[in-house]
């Protein structure tokens, strides 16, 4: 970006400065530590100058917003045109409870719904399964059948909202239920908008809510991608997720590299279904975490966008620029929240949310300050949402596109993140791809090592967490009001489910389940059969049970 002569001049001057001003200053006032590093292990220099980005080519590496390689953002005006979607993850108790919370959030100005399901639902168990004991409606809403789904979206017109569903193993089942609710409301399928997380690969090494072995899991994810490409043009079939990789302990760099690699795997798998890359790639979306190291996160988001655009263009020969778009959802990092002095979490969340905005996210979830202790209350959720609104309306961060572009540090860090992520991608390619790397435990080992290192750093006080290993308060009183899930939820839910099972057309149920078994064995796309099944009020547990029989169950590979 600078001419060579200027760079040389700056380099010379910098050397002089180092030998004089810097040296003299450090003599009087030494630096706080010998080395500064970010989470990804990249050494941070004391000062960045044009010399650090002398090889940056503006048109090649940054370009203009809305144009390749999209480093500066997906849209020409970014938040000057439309703010990011403020999407708050919510779900607990019965479908009635969450339906109430949804309506509250919509009335508070939220623009998109995001559904958290309880663990039994996530693991493909009905609320009355023995494994569900004590878990029904606790960490999310319990959905066992279409009946629950109808209650969940009662009074919410599906053509007016977009809905994100955090569901993976049973993603096709929940999407089928959503489609069925839409059909009942009379909403045309091409108008249904939203996202299913449906990223089964990361489950094996990050979130670990796996039901089936890797290959059938990838097949189920691909079924949804293929079905949406053909029938649900406004639905994002997958949200390729780095969030859980990060929360499991990965560094920002590992999060970036492993997520993009999962993306590559889904593209390759979907191409095998006979779709052309431009027929489905525009609907792929991504999901990242935002941590506390402000600049590292911003660089990560920018590098992710550029790298994905390059991969889609160079590796998969996409022609449609939208195929090169990395649309992303960001959530502030749950694992950075502390149980100690929980109000401090509001500040952490603010820093993380601001990084996501400066990184150019399309939608954002901000965590509530009490989440290290329990499920968030209405009050804490409101503060979290207000945090986004303050950034949007008061901070000025939304007033120009990619405000940090051109900063020597940010651009250098963006380059480094991209470069090092490419090294990982090369390594995984050499290993034989994502599934081979999962089976070898490569991702698992990388993440476990990072998590352990992070913990050691905190314990050695090499990394300070305010309120945890420094600035602590003795005998802290818990200042937050805890939200408790009504213990009757499980009972109510189980009763409703059992009533449904008694009253539905059991002959039809049996017939559809047999059909599903057959389709699964024939390796067909299962979406149409699953839609038929949920409409007959076949339960999530019953559908999953059939698939467990055909595909087997995954047993985790333990890497410590």
């Amino acid at each position: 970006m600078f001419d060579r002569q200027k760079i040389e001049e700056i380099a010379k001057e910098k050397k002089r400065w180092e030998q004089t001003t810097l040296t003299n200053w450090v003599k009087q006032c030494p630096e706080r530590r010998k080395e500064f590093r970010n989470h990804s292990g990249i050494t941070i220099k004391g000062l960045y100058t044009p010399e650090d980005i002398k090889n940056l080519d503006y048109m090649r590496d940054l370009g203009f917003p809305g144009e390749y390689p999209f480093t500066r953002g997906l849209h020409a005006t970014m938040y000057r045109g439309r703010l990011w979607t403020m999407r708050m993850f919510a779900g607990f108790g019965t479908a009635e409870d969450t339906n109430k919370r949804f309506k509250y959030l919509l009335s508070e100005g939220e623009t998109g719904l995001s559904t958290a399901f309880d663990y039994p639902t996530i693991m493909g168990y009905d609320s009355d399964h023995p494994m569900a004991k004590g878990e029904v409606g606790v960490c999310g809403v319990a959905i066992s059948s279409l009946q629950d789904m109808e209650i969940l979206f009662d009074g919410i017109p599906l053509d007016k909202v977009t809905t994100s569903m955090t569901i993976n193993g049973p993603a096709s089942i929940l999407l089928a239920m959503y489609v069925a609710v839409g059909d009942k409301q009379g909403v045309p399928r091409e108008k249904l908008g939203g996202t299913t997380q449906n990223d089964n690969l990361k489950e094996f090494f990050a979130q670990k809510l796996c039901i089936f072995p890797p290959k059938p899991s990838l097949k189920l994810s691909t079924d949804v991608i293929e079905y949406c490409a053909r029938h649900l043009p406004k639905w994002n079939p997958i949200s390729i997720s780095g969030y859980h990789i990060r929360e499991a302990g990965a560094t920002a760099l590992q999060e970036l590299a492993f997520t993009l690699y999962d993306g590559i795997a889904y593209v390759e798998e979907t191409l095998k279904r006979g779709l052309k890359v431009d027929e489905f790639a525009p609907r792929l979306s991504f999901f990242f975490a935002s941590h506390n190291d402000f600049f590292e996160e911003i660089a990560k988001f920018r590098a992710a966008r550029r790298l994905w655009a390059r991969i889609m263009k160079e590796r998969f020969h996409a022609k449609n620029p939208r195929s090169m778009w990395m649309r992303m959802h960001v959530q502030t990092s749950g694992c950075t929240l502390t149980a100690q002095q929980p109000l401090n979490n509001i500040v952490r969340t603010t820093i993380q949310a601001l990084a996501a905005v400066l990184g150019g996210t399309q939608s954002l979830h901000t965590n509530s300050f009490d989440e290290a202790l329990c499920l968030p209350t209405e009050e804490s959720v409101r503060v979290a949402l207000r945090t986004q609104q303050i950034i949007a309306y008061e901070s000025g961060a939304a007033n120009t596109v990619d405000p940090l572009a051109g900063a020597y540090y940010i651009e250098d860090l963006t380059n480094k993140m991209e470069e090092k992520a490419m090294e990982y991608i090369q390594k995984i390619d050499d290993m034989g791809g994502a599934i081979a790397a999962i089976e070898k435990g490569f991702f698992q080992k990388e993440i476990a090592d990072s998590a352990y290192r992070y913990q050691r750093e905190i314990e050695a006080k090499d990394r300070i967490i305010v309120g945890v290993n420094d600035y602590t308060i003795e005998d802290e009183e818990c200042p937050v009001k805890l939200l408790r899930v009504d213990p009757n939820v499980e009972k109510k839910q189980v009763e409703r489910l059992q009533k449904l099972k008694r009253e539905r057309d059991s002959r039809k149920v049996k017939e559809v389940l047999e059909k599903l078994h057959y389709a699964a064995e024939k390796d067909e796309n299962l979406m149409p059969t699953i839609i038929e099944a949920v409409k007959a009020y076949v339960t999530l547990g019953e559908i999953t049970e059939v698939l467990r029989k055909v595909y087997g169950e995954y047993k985790e590979l333990i890497i410590i």
């Binding site: 693991m123 168990y125 878990e135 499920l375 352990y452 314990e459 967490i465």
Partner: protein, 135 residues
Amino acid sequence: MQGERKIRVLIAKPGLDSHDRGAKVVARALRDAGMEVIYTGLRQTPEQIVETALQEDVDVIGLSILSGAHMALFPRIMELLKEKGLTDVMVFAGGIIPEEDVPELKRIGIKEVFGPGTPTENIIKYVLENAPKRS
């Protein structure tokens, strides 16, 4: 040839949640402190946990749970331990467990509850000091 006493610890994850980062970090820290650590993997039923403790003849059980189902699952585990005669095994717990639940958990026999952010050092020290001295 002299045999050596080693503290044997079972790190177990009851419930359906999959947050094993803490459990694994603790498992690794206890191992690095010279203990023999058996990890059950995710989603263990109370029956599986207690049966494993019995067969492995562990001195200590660490239960990790973040799903909020601890009040439903821990009592069952403690009950089964008693039933099988494993009353000399020391049990501690960790994860997201609200302060107000701790007295009840201690009442049913859980020796200590470690909240988020507890340094592994403290856990190691606690286990070393409180592991039952058995022959």
